[in-house]
């Protein structure tokens, strides 16, 4: 069973009259055994592979998809229930052949599945709503509680966007999905919408050869999740309000809109399945003003594994007339506020670039470069440098490059939400 620990980073001091309290809550889980969940039949995995016509041009793509699917199947542990869905204009369950139930992984079924996917053929259109609904149907036939899908596509969804939105809505809470796009003909915002709603990640696989390794990696992390459903529970005192709850590491994801009210003072934020990992959350609340000297609890943040509270952190507020104390910004809060701003600037900068507004794009990507350099987010700096020429990272003076590779632009977009922890920067905390 996983052990969870929570830690709070905040400056608890508020100036007289101040009402906004920000805190970073770090949640660490250790000792979780994904293997136990698999053996107990608690885990289910559905591979969704795009088999639309575009996957055959270049033909390396469908061949790479077959190899990658086989690699992913190899990574499925014994006892895990699984299926492979082929996605076109409609989705078909490619394996198991009887179509409506999941197979239980062992040497025999893995072999059969690999044999099946070696015959995956491309042809037809792309209607992702049907893919998701097919996966949801398969999961619904299972009693597994840890439900994960990997979706691979190479193209744009070719159906009424409303149908995809409806499908996403009906899949929320049913399973989690990591989405990968191969090549550069798919739409980042489309896959991000799916991944974000289904509590997964989105990324680009620039060339077919990289598919296999990526699928192995994805499967490994999926198989290591031992806790089916973790929940962040946030309590605020009467008269207070949650401004936002945001995951800030390993990547930025706003959870505010996912709040499920438990009672007038408490909301739950579903976090999905957990393995041995660490995630950070930024909680911002507005509390009623109090007199100098008063201490109150601004938020009680609990972590639930299933229905059980397994950890708790207290976000306090203490009003003071010591301006030096109240003016200090907690380094973790400052850092993650910057990382969220970084992600927003990249996405808005790329958006501006697409619509031909180079001026806005330059400002936004310049600001992003400045933030990424200052916070030591080297991965993002590297991606930014493929899109802009950096003249002065300190002031964020950049020029948009004339020769931007589409894959680089998409990689920057999909990875814009990746964050680094405090202290990663060479210059941090001086």
């Amino acid at each position: 069973m996983s052990e969870f620990s929570l830690e709070v980073f905040q400056n608890e001091f508020l100036a007289d009259g101040a009402t906004t309290m920000d805190a970073i809550v770090t949640v660490t889980a250790s000792g979780g055994a994904g293997g136990a969940a698999a053996a107990a039949g608690q885990a289910a995995e559905v591979l969704i592979v795009d088999t639309s016509g575009s996957m055959s041009a270049p033909s390396t793509r469908i061949r790479a998809a077959r190899t990658a699917a086989a690699a992913a199947i190899d990574g499925i542990r014994d006892g895990v229930q699984f299926a492979v869905v082929a996605g076109g204009e409609v989705a078909t369950t490619f394996f198991p052949p009887w179509g409506t139930n999941l197979a239980v992984a062992d040497n025999v079924t893995r072999g059969q599945a690999k044999d099946a996917v070696s015959h995956l053929a491309a042809g037809g259109g792309t209607a992702m709503s049907t893919w998701l609904l097919q996966a949801a149907d398969l999961f619904a036939s299972s009693t597994a509680t840890i439900r994960h899908a990997i979706l691979l596509t190479d193209g744009e969804n070719r159906e009424d966007p409303a149908r995809l939105d409806d499908a996403i809505r009906s899949c929320v809470g049913q399973f989690q999905a990591d989405c990968r796009g191969v090549g550069t003909d798919w739409i980042v915002s489309e896959l991000r919408k799916i991944a974000s709603a289904l509590m997964g990640t989105v990324d680009i696989i620039p060339s077919p050869e990289e598919m296999e390794a990526e699928f192995q990696r994805l499967m490994e992390s999926a198989m290591n999740r031992g806790v089916a459903a973790a929940t962040l529970r946030v309590w605020c005192p009467q008269g207070a309000r949650v401004n936002f709850v945001r995951q800030v590491a390993p990547d930025v994801e706003d959870l505010t809109g996912r709040a499920v009210p438990i009672n007038p003072l408490t909301s739950d934020f579903p976090l999905g399945a957990w393995g041995d990992e660490e995630r950070d959350y930024h909680v911002s609340v507005t509390v009623p003003a109090n007199a100098v000297g008063v201490e109150m609890l601004a938020a009680r943040v609990s972590l639930l594994a299933g229905p059980d509270v397994v950890g708790q952190a207290l976000v306090r507020a203490v009003w003071t007339d010591d301006e030096a104390a109240s003016a200090r910004i907690n380094p973790e809060v400052a850092h993650y506020t910057g990382q969220a701003e970084l992600a927003a600037n990249i996405q808005e900068g790329l958006e501006a670039l697409k619509s031909g507004d180079e001026r806005t794009a330059t400002v936004k990507l310049g600001r992003a470069t400045q933030l990424a350099v200052a916070s030591g987010n080297d991965g993002t700096v590297k991606l930014l440098r493929k899109v802009v020429d950096v003249e002065d990272p300190a002031t964020g003076t950049v020029r948009i490059r004339k020769d931007i590779d589409k894959a680089d632009e998409m990689a920057l977009d999909t990875r814009s939400t990746r964050t680094v922890r405090v202290g990663s920067g060479a210059k941090a905390s001086q």
Partner: protein, 245 residues
């Protein structure tokens, strides 16, 4: 064990560290000598020592119990010493220019055409200090007529890649880049309109409020209400009565 604890403000709390209702610290040592001397020696009991309760005063505004140690009513924020409610809006645009401030719309059936006037508000822009967005000069207000019924009227910025094409589009020119692509919507409700913010990045403000409207919660509007969003955008909801002719 379900010991009920009482916090210094008189709430019954399920938590022993901070009150589960108002968040007040529970384990404050009583400042004054407690009149009913707590029985010492029982270390396993709740650590909270009940504070002698002064005569209970009620908040004149919301009738909740007032905490004598607090400057304000813990529930509604009323200040008994000045007799005022929490800070009046700072946002009040020096531009009381457009505010037809009479909500005295009688019970007469409301008929007419609802419109939204899109304008750039200098006072609001100056308060926001969004360096990345310039204040658009010399832009005449736009009037957008709202439909009689039907789907929500989207407020945001159009984007081909995100598939947004809101009826009230701040993508410009001039663009207000601080408006989210899917920012908010106006919902037809009965004779009037409500505003709902879709969890926008920078929030939506109605009239003279300093706090953004809560996300995903419809807020009823009336004719003359001002909606502030982005770096400089002001939307004014107006009802143009039907001209009998």
């Amino acid at each position: 064990m379900s010991t009920t604890l009482t916090c210094p403000n008189g709430h019954s709390s399920t938590e022993s560290d901070y009150c589960s209702v108002c968040g007040t610290l529970m384990a404050v040592p009583a400042p004054a000598p407690p009149s009913p001397v707590p029985v010492p020696g029982d270390d396993d009991g709740p650590t909270f020592i009940p504070r002698p309760k002064p005569p209970v005063e009620e908040c004149p505004n919301c009738s909740s119990e007032l905490d004598p140690t607090s400057k304000f009513c813990e529930v509604c924020g009323y200040d008994p010493t000045t007799g005022s409610l929490p800070k009046p809006p700072v946002v009040s645009p020096a531009a009381s220019d457009v505010a037809p401030d009479d909500d005295a719309a009688p019970d007469a059936p409301v008929t007419g055409t609802w419109v939204v006037v899109v304008a750039a508000d200098r006072a609001y822009y100056d308060r926001n200090q969004v360096a990345e967005v310039q204040f658009p000069l010399g832009v005449p207000p736009r009037v957008i007529e709202l439909p009689v019924a039907g789907d929500p009227v989207a407020i945001g910025r159009r984007s081909a890649s995100r598939g947004t094409n809101p009826a009230i589009d701040l993508a410009g020119p001039p663009e207000d880049a601080a408006v989210s692509h899917t920012h908010a919507s106006l919902l037809r409700e009965g004779d009037g309109w409500s505003l709902v913010d879709h969890g926008s990045t920078n929030g939506t403000y109605v009239n003279e409020t300093t706090d953004p409207v809560p996300a995903n919660t419809p807020m009823p509007l009336k004719a003359g209400d001002r909606i502030y969003l982005g770096a400089w955008t002001k939307l004014t909801l107006e009802l143009h009565p039907d001209q009998p002719n």
